[in-house]
């Protein structure tokens, strides 16, 4: 569904902004290079982890096994 593409697009855009624009708006200082490395690496790592989590759930090959009570409850509440 298109929903999946929208989600992927939005989240990727957010992390790309952080990782791509962030390094340039840092104030000048002696450790600027270190902070730039940190921001880019953070963006890449966090996006990657999210992406893997998202992709692994995109097309589930099996569903969750629930007990009777849980099924009743979820039918009610969710």
């Amino acid at each position: 569904m298109i929903g999946a593409w929208i989600t992927i697009g939005i989240v990727t855009l957010i992390w790309a902004l952080i990782g791509g624009v962030g390094p340039f708006i840092l104030p000048k200082g002696p450790n600027r290079g270190v902070y730039q490395t940190m921001i880019v690496l953070t963006a890449v790592c966090c996006w990657l982890h999210w992406f893997i989590t998202y992709m692994s759930q995109l097309n589930p090959l099996m569903g969750p096994t629930l007990t009777r009570g849980e099924i009743y409850l979820m039918g009610w509440v969710w």
Binding site: C45, H49, G63, M74, G75
Partner: protein
């Protein structure tokens, strides 16, 4: 990139110091803390060095200061710490300091001995006073006895004789001694006396109530007064010897009561006088010590600095003829100006007319590694240095480790609640760091945690993020966006529900999972937008589904970190201009890794994107597929081993490329080195003259100066490049370069290459499998927190009523204690260790050599803090 990417550029400099200015210059350099001096006299014994006497004098001064410090501690006078950092005084002031310390030490020693003597005197007088008092009662008893029972026992008679006859006739046979003895020894004393004198002596003793202080050791002891009566000289000598043996002090005791009274009065006055004298001595001692306490810290620092300067001066080469000292030091290239400024300042301070000279030198020796760190990056640099100091100007993994280490830790530790706790703890450490930096904590474990406070802070932040992705907060999930699974769409009938206790949702049924079962490329599912769906928290098959997700996560992250390591290796090769290694080692390494694990990761993503529940029956296992790829088994749709069309052709190509990489890695470099060496040998045979000629025309315009080439017309401010560094023996400098290069040994090169190729190829598989610990530890962590919740907290929360409130309160303490102890401390340490191992072995083995040595500059701040031994 920041300066942390590579270690700083260093240069070897030679310093020429005037003898008078040497001390002041070294003092300035010590304050600056940017130069590491080399030992130019390695063959000289420590006792034969030039400044060994001065060092000895400094040691003496330190000993005196330590004695004074001990006296201060004994009297519990606090040492004044103003935070002052005094400069090392010049050598001529050293004599003044020495004299002052000598005087103080003598004074203190004198005061101490006087005090001891006075106390001993005081002790004796007090004992005498007690003796006089007690013997008074003995004699009175004897008089009473005499009055009441005239002649009952032998003893009474003896006393009778004593009182009457002794007073009347000076020529009596009975004598007595009086003294004081330790209370514990009295029974033994009695027994020995009885045995030795065959019962012919008579002992009376009485306890002294007040305790005495032993003047020498300062212990408190209990003593007894005793008096022994005997007859004859032989017994007298025997009794005296026994008293000596038992270390009893004997006092002359007068017989008549009047004499006793007079002496008692005299003793009392003397005791009072002594007490006043003792008090005055004590006051004087306190005054002296409090004066010392004001200055002693400053003196300590001064003496330490002087000693450090003389130790450094001992490393220099002394040229007595020219009256100058030659030093060699490593220093960062960017700091040469500051060092020259310090030298100039030192020369001015010492009032010398001749300026000190500093010159850069060329050398083939490897410089030390200097990474400029601040309080934030220092923790991360420390864990890299713990593995091995980087080679000079090698790529430093520290700036990347700042993020990747906490991130990998968080993958293994992911839990929002635990992450918050860790973050808060580190925040407390960071906010109160000024307090702890001023006074370092004494507990070593807490000190280690304090040193790594920024590390723990980042680990906590990333743990919160991965906890949010894993959807675990103390093992409970949070439903933020609404689950993608819909139970009602399954349309379970009551009969189905009554029939079995557990049911599995089927995503093939329309509406159960948002977006399915429309298959790619027409559509895909629409899962929970950020993180693991909260429904999995309650699912029975959560573990088997999450296992697949976490294992693949681990492999993908492992591959990316290893590729990153190879990229850094590329930067290393390019900086060293080692194009041979680049083409013969790096490219096949990269291709090999990508062909194997890179292909696997591509398949992982493909299978996730394309395979759906509707064709899940024919979904092939990726691992089996990989194994079959190497066995050249053709994948077919029928046997459910095929993932995509033309898979067989693609896989055969990939395997052949990977296999070709192995001889590429193995053989190309040795062959090229062999051909190069053959060409060089041919060239050397044709050439007759040696390449480095000692008196060649290249050295015109220079002179030899103490074994070193110096430009002839040169001012003190120039920074010129010289030929040899001083440690080279001038005689052997004429030898051809064969000594500088290793001899080419084909077998060695081949063996080295074989080892490295095998190591790399095996590591592609083994390191990838090693990254699976990311899965294993995160599974362990989530299971532990789940157990802790269900077994501990849940049992408290599920009790009803008022009792439930109490139970929850009590059980929370258990829950909290176990969480902190097991999950935070134990699991935290475990994940820390495994993340560290992943960095040290799997990441760094791709590019890091780590065989350098650290830059330890001559810096007073390091020495005074006690961090550096001399």
């Amino acid at each position: 990139m920041g300066s942390l990417f590579r270690s700083e550029e260093m240069c070897l400099a030679q310093l020429y110091l005037q003898s008078e200015a040497a001390f002041a210059c070294v003092s300035e350099l010590g304050e600056l803390g940017l130069a590491q001096f080399r030992d130019l006299n390695p063959n000289v014994n420590a006792f034969q060095r030039k400044f060994v006497n001065e060092v000895r004098r400094c040691d003496e001064m330190e000993r005196k200061l330590r004695f004074l410090e001990r006296e201060l501690k004994k009297d519990k006078i606090p040492i004044l710490d103003t935070g002052d950092d005094p400069v090392a005084p010049p050598p001529r002031e050293m004599i003044g300091l020495e004299a002052k310390f000598e005087k103080l030490e003598n004074e203190m020693k004198e005061v101490n001995t006087n005090q001891e003597a006075l106390k001993r005197n005081f002790l004796e007088l007090t004992e005498l006073k007690h003796i006089l008092r007690k013997t008074q009662s003995f004699f009175e008893e004897a008089a009473m006895y005499h009055g009441n029972q005239p002649s009952e026992t032998n003893q009474a008679e003896e006393e009778n004789l004593l009182v009457n006859d002794y007073a009347k006739t000076p020529y009596t046979k009975l004598g007595f001694v009086a003294g004081v003895i330790l209370r514990e020894k009295v029974p033994a004393f009695e027994r020995v006396l009885w045995r030795a004198c065959r019962g012919n002596v008579f002992l009376r003793h009485a306890e002294i109530e007040t305790t005495f202080e032993d003047p020498h050791t300062g212990d408190t002891v209990n003593k007894c007064v005793f008096i022994i009566f005997f007859q004859g000289d032989q017994l007298k000598t025997r009794v005296k010897k026994i008293c000596e043996g038992f270390r009893a002090t004997l006092y002359p005791c007068p017989e008549t009561p009047q004499e006793r009274r007079e002496i008692a009065i005299g003793v009392m006055t003397r005791i009072e006088d002594l007490q006043t004298v003792l008090n005055q001595t004590e006051d004087h001692r306190k005054i002296v010590l409090s004066q010392v306490a004001l200055d002693i810290r400053v003196w300590f620092i001064k003496v330490r600095k002087i000693k450090a300067i003389y130790h450094t001066l001992n490393l220099f080469n002394v040229n007595i003829a020219e009256k100058c000292l030659i030093a060699e030091c490593w220093c960062p290239v960017v700091e040469i100006d500051r060092i020259q400024f310090a030298l100039r300042k030192g020369t001015e301070l010492s009032g010398s007319s001749v300026p000190s000279i500093m010159q850069r030198m060329n050398t083939k020796e490897a410089p030390p590694t200097y990474n400029r760190t601040d309080k934030f990056t220092q923790g991360f640099q420390a864990i890299i240095d713990a593995f091995g100091i980087a080679n000079y100007r090698e790529v430093n993994p520290a700036p990347f480790t700042i993020i990747t280490f906490p991130f990998l830790f968080a993958v293994m530790f992911g839990d929002i609640g635990h992450g918050i706790l860790m973050f808060l703890f580190a925040l407390y450490l960071v906010l109160s760091e000024k307090k702890y930096l001023a006074k370092r904590p004494e507990n070593e474990i807490f000190e280690m945690m304090f040193d790594g406070r920024y590390l723990i802070l980042l680990m906590g932040i990333f743990s919160m993020y991965t906890g949010f992705l894993y959807n675990e907060c103390f093992s409970r999930s949070i439903n933020v966006f609404g689950s993608a699974w819909n139970v009602n769409a399954m349309n379970y009938t009551n009969t189905t529900l009554q029939a079995s206790g557990t049911l599995t949702l089927n995503p093939n049924v329309y509406g159960v999972f948002r977006g399915t079962p429309i298959m790619y490329p027409n559509g895909t599912g629409d899962p929970y937008p950020y993180g693991i769906d909260p429904i999995w928290q309650s699912a029975g098959n959560k573990i088997s589904v999450q296992n697949s997700y976490k294992m693949k996560n681990a492999v993908i992250m492992g591959l990316l970190q290893m590729i990153f390591g190879l990229v850094l290796a590329f930067y290393n090769h390019r900086y060293n201009k080692d194009y041979l290694a680049l083409f013969c080692e790096w490219i096949p390494q990269l291709i090999f890794l990508l062909c194997l694990i890179g292909y696997l990761c591509v398949l992982i993503f493909y299978k996730w994107a394309v395979w759906n529940v509707s064709n899940s029956n024919s979904a092939p296992s990726l691992l089996i597929g990989l194994i079959n790829m190497f066995m050249f088994t053709k994948p077919t749709w029928a046997k459910k081993t095929q993932l995509y069309s033309n898979q067989n052709e693609v896989q055969i190509t990939i395997v052949i490329i990977a296999i070709l990489c192995v001889p590429w890695m193995l053989l190309t470099k040795p062959i090229i080195l062999y051909l190069r060496n053959k060409a060089k040998m041919k060239q050397l045979v044709l050439h007759v003259d040696p390449i480095y000629n000692h008196d060649s025309t290249a050295n015109m315009g220079t002179t030899r100066y103490a074994g070193v080439r110096v430009a002839v017309d040169e001012t003190s401010d120039d920074v010129a490049i010289l030929d040899h560094d001083h440690l080279d023996d001038p005689e052997t400098a004429s030898i051809t370069p064969k000594d500088e290069e290793e001899k080419f040994d084909m077998s060695e090169v081949l063996i080295y290459q074989v080892i490295h190729t095998i190591e790399y190829c095996l590591s592609c598989i083994s390191h990838t499998a090693s990254y699976l610990r990311l899965w294993a530890l995160s599974l362990a962590h989530s299971e532990l927190s789940e157990v802790l919740w269900t077994m501990v907290m849940h049992s408290g929360l599920s009790v009803k009523g008022i009792l439930g409130a109490f139970m929850s309160f009590l059980i929370f303490w258990g829950f909290a204690g176990l969480t902190v102890g097991i999950l935070l401390v134990m699991e935290g340490l475990s994940a820390f260790l495994h993340a560290l191992r992943l960095h040290w072995v799997e990441f760094q083995s791709k590019f890091y050599k780590g065989e350098g040595y650290l830059f330890t500059p001559f810096s007073f701040s390091l020495i005074v803090e006690g961090r550096v031994d001399e």
